[in-house]
C-alpha cells in the first residue's frame, strides 16, 4: 500500500521528532521541569489546530491545557507504541467528546450532533481571509464531525491512516475511506 513509500524510520523527520519527544519525557521524569516547557511548545499549536478545526468553539486553550495536564499526570504509562503527538491527540479527542456529552446533558445548551456540523463550524468564519480560503473553509465545515477529524489530521498534520485510526478509534481502512469521502464532499461543495 502507499504508506510503504513513506520515509523509512530513521530518516523521517517525524521519527526524529519522536526521538526528541522521548528524550524530553525522560528528562522530565528525571526532574527537569524545563523539558515540560519544550514538550508543550512542540505540541500545543497542533492540539489547538485540531480542536479548532473540528469545531471546538470556546476555551480551546483550556482544552489544550487539560490535555497536557492529563498527559503529564500519566506520562509514566506512555509506552511509546505511538508517537507522543498521536497520544496527545487521542487524549484531547476524549476530552472533547466528554465535553460534548456534558453539553448534551445540559438542557439549556445547544446539543452538538452530526447535523450541527455546519452550525458549530461557523464560529471560525471570521478568521478566514480570501475568497478561495473562505469557500474551502465552508466546504470543510459541511463535513460530518468524524470526516472533519480525519480530514484535519490527514491534511493539516500529515498523519498516516494508522495514526488517525488510533486517534479516532477505527481501523486503518476505515480512516482511509473517511478521508476520501471527505475529500470528495469538499470537492463537490466547491463545485456547487
Amino acid at each position: 500500500m502507499p504508506s510503504d513509500d513513506r520515509v523509512p524510520p530513521g530518516t523521517d523527520p517525524r521519527s526524529a521528532a519522536d526521538q526528541v519527544d522521548r528524550a524530553l519525557i525522560t528528562r522530565w521524569l528525571a526532574g527537569d521541569e524545563r523539558a515540560a516547557t519544550a514538550l508543550v511548545e512542540r505540541h500545543a499549536a497542533a492540539l489547538a489546530r485540531f480542536a479548532a478545526s473540528v469545531g471546538e468553539r470556546t476555551d480551546v486553550e483550556e482544552l489544550v491545557q487539560d490535555t497536557f495536564v492529563r498527559a503529564f499526570g500519566s506520562i509514566e504509562s506512555f509506552r511509546g507504541e505511538s508517537s507522543l503527538r498521536t497520544w496527545l491527540f487521542t487524549i484531547e479527542r476524549r476530552l472533547m467528546l466528554d465535553r460534548r456529552r456534558a453539553e448534551r446533558r445540559r438542557p439549556e445548551r445547544v446539543s452538538v450532533e452530526e447535523g450541527d456540523a455546519a452550525t458549530e463550524y461557523t464560529a471560525l468564519d471570521g478568521v478566514v481571509a480570501g475568497e478561495t480560503e473562505a469557500r474551502v473553509h465552508a466546504a470543510i465545515g459541511g463535513l460530518s464531525p468524524l470526516q472533519r477529524e480525519v480530514f484535519t489530521l490527514r491534511v493539516t498534520e500529515g498523519l498516516s491512516y494508522k495514526e488517525i485510526a488510533d486517534i479516532v478509534g477505527s481501523t486503518e481502512g476505515a480512516a482511509r475511506v473517511h478521508y476520501h469521502n471527505a475529500m470528495r464532499a469538499v470537492k463537490e461543495r466547491l463545485n456547487d
Binding site: P2, R14, L29, A35, V60, E61, V64, V128, I140, F151
Partner: protein
C-alpha cells in the same frame, strides 16, 4: 473535473504535500502531478485546506499551560514555593469520642447481660443492696480511709487501664434465611 483513477497516487498526495515520501515515491508522485490536472488541482486544494485549518487555530499561552502541569516525579521543591501541608485525619477509632463510645457500649452491654442472666437464672444470687453504699477495697479497707497519696496512686492506676479493645467490633449482620426472613 473527474477524479484521477490512480488511487495509490491520490492516497499519497497528503504525504507529498507534507514532504513525507521517500525520494523514489516523491519523484513518482511529482511526475504524475505534472501531467495530471486532477491531482494537480487536489494538491492545490490540500494546500489551501491546510492554510485554512492552520489559520483557524487560536494561539495558546505556553507559559500558562506549563504553570498548571504537575511537577516531575523526581523534582526538588522549588524555592519560594510553599506547598500546603498535608493534614492527615486521625482514624475514627483513635478519636476520644469513639473510644468513649466503645467503653460505654461495652459497659452497658456487660451490665445488660448480667441483668438478663440474673432474670433467667433463678439460682443466681443477686447481691442485696445495702442501705448505705460503701466501696470496699481489695485489702478490706474503705475508700474513705485512703490518704490523698493513696487516692492519687489509685487514679494513676486507673489512667493506665486500657479500656479500648484490641480490635474493632465487627458489625452484627442478621442471618437471612432461605425464605427471605430474618
Amino acid at each position: 473535473m473527474t477524479d484521477c483513477l490512480d488511487g495509490d497516487i491520490r492516497d499519497q498526495l497528503p504525504d507529498y504535500v507534507h514532504e513525507r515520501l521517500d525520494t523514489a515515491a516523491r519523484a513518482r508522485v511529482a511526475a504524475h502531478v505534472a501531467t495530471c490536472a486532477s491531482c494537480a488541482a487536489e494538491v492545490e486544494l490540500l494546500g489551501a485546506a491546510r492554510r485554512v485549518l492552520t489559520a483557524a487555530a487560536p494561539r495558546v499561552d505556553i507559559a500558562r499551560i506549563v504553570a498548571t502541569l504537575p511537577s516531575p516525579p523526581q523534582a526538588t521543591p522549588r524555592l519560594g514555593v510553599v506547598r500546603p501541608a498535608v493534614v492527615r485525619r486521625q482514624p475514627a477509632y483513635m478519636r476520644p469520642w469513639w473510644i468513649a463510645a466503645v467503653v460505654a457500649t461495652v459497659a452497658i452491654g456487660g451490665a445488660s447481660i448480667a441483668v438478663i442472666r440474673g432474670i433467667t437464672n433463678p439460682n443466681l444470687q443477686m447481691p442485696t443492696p445495702t442501705a448505705e453504699a460503701t466501696v470496699v477495697l481489695p485489702d478490706g479497707g474503705r475508700i474513705g480511709e485512703l490518704s490523698d497519696d493513696d487516692v492519687q496512686s489509685l487514679l494513676d492506676d486507673i489512667d493506665q487501664f486500657d479500656g479500648v479493645p484490641d480490635e474493632n467490633p465487627q458489625p452484627a449482620v442478621p442471618a437471612l434465611h432461605p425464605g427471605g426472613t430474618l
